[in-house]
């Protein structure tokens, strides 16, 4: 493609990560919008209110909202309610920091991968994808 997408991994995975996509229609603020105890979206204004992000490959274009999102994401990692990976179009410090500190503090990998708009559009909710240690996203099966 003409412009190489800035695919970067905030928390490089030790091995490939596999999971089922949850593609958010709107970005999510982890703080105030997500419950680290249950792994569910609790933002009453969010179209996917009530969906669980735990273990999913969470796809959202950009970040959103509160700086505390990093802390909530880290706590979700500790509680086992975090996504398996996060795929975004634009790098977001708040999301990246949760993943970076999860690795530094607990040695737990939460890859945050950047893709371009076209790739993002292909990642529909429900499909299974693989994320390689180099940050590339591969669709395993599409319904």
């Amino acid at each position: 493609m003409a412009e190489a997408p800035q695919v970067q991994v905030a928390g490089p995975p030790s091995g490939p990560v596999e999971g089922v996509v949850l593609h958010l229609d709107e970005p999510l603020s982890f703080w105030g919008g997500f419950d680290s105890a249950s792994g569910e979206i609790i933002d009453r204004h969010h179209p996917q209110l009530g969906s669980s992000v735990a273990g999913r490959v969470l796809v959202m274009r950009t970040g959103r909202g509160s700086s505390s999102g990093s802390s909530v994401l880290l706590e979700a990692v500790r509680c086992g309610t975090a996504p398996a990976a996060i795929v975004m179009v634009e790098a977001d410090a708040i999301v990246a920091l949760g993943a970076i500190v999860a690795d530094e503090l607990y040695g737990v990998s939460l890859p945050v991968v950047l893709v371009d708009e076209a790739e993002l559009a292909e990642l529909c909710t429900g499909i299974r994808v693989n994320i390689d240690p180099d940050g590339s996203v591969r669709i395993l099966d599409a319904d």
């Binding site: 634009e90 970076i100 503090l105 940050g135």
Partner: protein, 434 residues
């Protein structure tokens, strides 16, 4: 599925950076530097830059994991190397009885606060550090977290901070370094989306509600792009800009905005746009703003249990306006009224004699924290009213409470009446004093 992996931009580190990263300044600096460097890589920064101050959001309790991080840093002897202020916490240390949460959790929240103070941060406990005396000057690079504070620092002060999340705030404070990325760089500070206000009624233009609903609308349209607002008739003051930024940063991820004629990097629309054409122009009319207010209001009817004001923390001027609107009346005994503010503002409000007056009128003053981040509200099963779009945005999810968003004046009248009283004249008519 294409999955191209672009090689990381090489991050240039100075000798001092390398020493910190290699543990030459001890394990705490090493950990802090690793976080700063890894964030710089994730953001595609080419180098780090010196910061002259920090505002730390990580002191609000969100569970054991962030506490583990803070205690690891503090236990390894971390100390801030630049003046560092602290955001709201989960506890009101001046009025500890207000906390209605689990006592065990309260103790952990206290431990988190202690860890940050032990690292040399100032116990300011406010989400409005720009209301303190020492605030960053135009052009100064700082590392601020807390979304409303970030928006204010960039937009109103003309200081430079990226949209930092928790952890890197303290790591930047401990190392004095931050990624040269985002809003630290000129090219990311120019506006790309224009919002033009058109035909707003004088009543709405004077209402405290305008920046809240406008900010919400702006944030939901721009996401993380930089907006410029044109057509605000009178140059708005800092409280207005604070409200706009806090709402925009909640509804979107706005880290910087311009208001033509009011913010320092927008003397004209052309300058705010950096001499280029905007990507998008949005015309804002009264009906759009009214719809935005309606979207943020989740309660129906006139039942009212709580009025919560001061998100972000009220300034002295805002408390003054509340006192004026209350006009010597008491609030209704069946309504709990909370005003959240910083300790520094409270000191001044005490000196002016307003605090005692507010307490005897039935108002509860909350410091060090905020009523939507920790269990303080006595009653959450019945509706709450607020003059803050940010509070309205987050409280239903955080507290499970239904909200009514209104102007400060409407909140005061409702608090006195003991039920929701809205004055729809602001949407249709001329003068409305509030």
């Amino acid at each position: 599925m294409p999955g191209t992996y672009a090689a990381r931009v090489a991050l240039h580190l100075t000798d001092d950076d390398v020493r910190r990263l290699d543990g030459g300044d001890g394990p705490a600096v090493r950990l802090a530097m690793r976080v700063v460097v890894r964030l710089a890589e994730a953001l595609g920064a080419e180098e780090l830059l010196d910061i002259s101050g920090a505002h730390v959001d990580s002191c609000l309790y969100h569970g054991r994991a962030p506490l583990d991080f803070a205690e690891r840093l503090a236990g390894d002897g971390a100390a801030v190397v630049v003046p560092t202020t602290l955001n709201v916490s989960s506890l009101d240390l001046l009025h500890p009885d207000l906390y209605r949460g689990d006592p065990g959790e309260g103790e952990l929240a206290r431990r988190l606060m202690d860890a940050y103070v032990a690292m040399g941060c100032r116990p300011t406990w406010t989400c409005a550090p720009y209301q303190l005396e020492d605030r960053p000057a135009f052009g100064e690079n700082v590392a601020w977290a807390e979304s409303n504070a970030i928006a204010f620092a960039n937009s109103v002060l003309g200081a430079r901070t990226d949209r930092y999340g928790d952890f890197v705030d303290i790591c930047a404070a401990v190392t004095g370094r931050a990624p040269a990325a985002g809003f630290h760089l000129d090219e990311n500070r120019r506006a790309t989306v224009v919002f033009h206000l058109e035909g707003l009624m004088p009543g709405l233009l004077e209402s405290s509600l305008l920046p809240h609903v406008l900010g919400t609308l702006v944030g939901s349209v721009v996401g993380n792009r930089v907006p410029v607002i044109d057509g605000v008739p009178d140059p708005p003051g800092e409280d207005w800009l604070k409200a706009l930024g806090s709402a925009a940063a909640s509804a979107g991820s706005v880290g910087m905005f311009h208001v033509v004629g009011a913010t320092p990097e927008a003397p004209t629309l052309e300058v705010a746009l950096g001499g280029r054409q905007p990507d998008e122009v949005v015309v804002v009319r009264s009906d759009d703003l009214r719809r935005t207010r309606d979207l943020l209001t989740t309660a129906v009817g006139s039942d009212l249990a709580t009025v919560s004001l001061g998100t972000p923390h009220y300034s002295v001027a805002e408390i003054g306006r509340f006192v004026e609107a209350l006009a010597g009346r008491n609030v209704h005994p069946a309504v709990d009224v909370y005003i959240s503010t910083g300790r520094g503002v409270l000191d001044e409000v005490e000196d002016r004699g307003w605090a005692e007056g507010l307490r005897s009128a039935g108002v509860t003053i909350v410091t060090d924290t905020c009523t939507y981040v920790t269990p303080i509200l006595r009653e959450t099963s019945r509706p709450a009213m607020t003059d803050s779009a940010k509070w309205a945005y987050y409280a239903p999810g955080n507290l499970g409470v239904d909200v009514v968003l209104a102007s400060t004046r409407e909140c005061v009248e409702s608090a006195v009446a003991g039920k929701v009283v809205l004055d729809d004249a602001i949407w249709t008519e001329g003068h409305f004093d509030g």
